[in-house]
């Protein structure tokens, strides 16, 4: 799949949480290990519910797990 604009801290968070394996994270979030590998390497952007489930496993806010690296979009009429 195409690379997404999302970067993530999953690898670091796994190791900070008792060296959790990819399989353990996959089991706790209800996906396959392949999907965790694809997310970690930035090849796949997870759905919002999955992103929340991953963040919940690490007990951190979602922004600490995923960061958006794309260009900024501003709504029409918003203040500069």
């Amino acid at each position: 799949m195409a690379k997404s604009n999302l970067s993530n801290q999953i690898r670091r968070l796994r190791f900070e949480n008792g060296e959790m394996t990819q399989q353990q994270l996959a089991d706790r979030t209800g996906v396959t290990r392949q999907t965790i590998i694809a997310i970690e390497s930035g090849k796949y952007a997870p759905s919002l519910p999955l992103a929340f489930r991953i963040a919940r496993v690490f007990a951190v806010p979602i922004e600490q797990v995923f960061q958006y690296e794309g260009s900024e979009f501003r709504a029409h009429g918003s203040q500069q």
Partner: protein, 146 residues
């Protein structure tokens, strides 16, 4: 390698085998045995190998208690189907319209041509769906596992 990849590889292998055996049989019957092309086309009988595709649900059963299919698999499956059916539709329309332009509005097409369109459509969809699925997962099957 997950279930979807195994099924895609299985489909690809069965399709390739059926096509190769049919091509070889037609070649042998036409060039070596010396049958006319109409008789040599009997080599298409090897397309019966495609019946093995029906074994997919038996060969790739679901393991209990293990996540085998998730949102990423669904996304890949949908993309493969969209690509396969988009290309199939173009080819199908072309196959239906070409006789009109070649033979004219009063031309006649063999009934075999209609059957070939259906078989060709099936082969196109299955082949493309398998190829796109494998490409999306990464051909090596491990998808960068470490």
């Amino acid at each position: 390698m997950n279930k979807a990849q195994k099924i895609a590889w299985f489909n690809l292998i069965v399709l390739s085998t059926a096509l190769c055996l049919s091509a070889i049989a037609i070649g042998v019957l036409y060039f070596i045995v010396g049958l006319p092309m109409r008789g040599a086309l009997g080599g298409f009988g090897f397309m019966g190998v495609l019946g093995l595709l029906g074994l997919t649900p038996i060969l790739f059963r679901k393991d209990k208690g293990k996540v085998q299919y998730d949102e990423r698999d669904l996304t890949i499956c949908r993309k493969a189907a969209v690509v396969a059916y988009a290309i199939f539709w173009v080819l199908f329309v072309a196959a239906a319209m070409v006789p009109f332009f070649v033979l004219g509005p009063d031309g006649i097409v063999s009934v075999t041509y209609l059957c070939a369109m259906v078989l060709g459509g099936f082969l196109t969809v299955t082949l493309l769906q398998s190829i796109v699925t494998l490409k999306e997962y990464g051909w090596r099957g491990k998808d960068g596992e470490k």
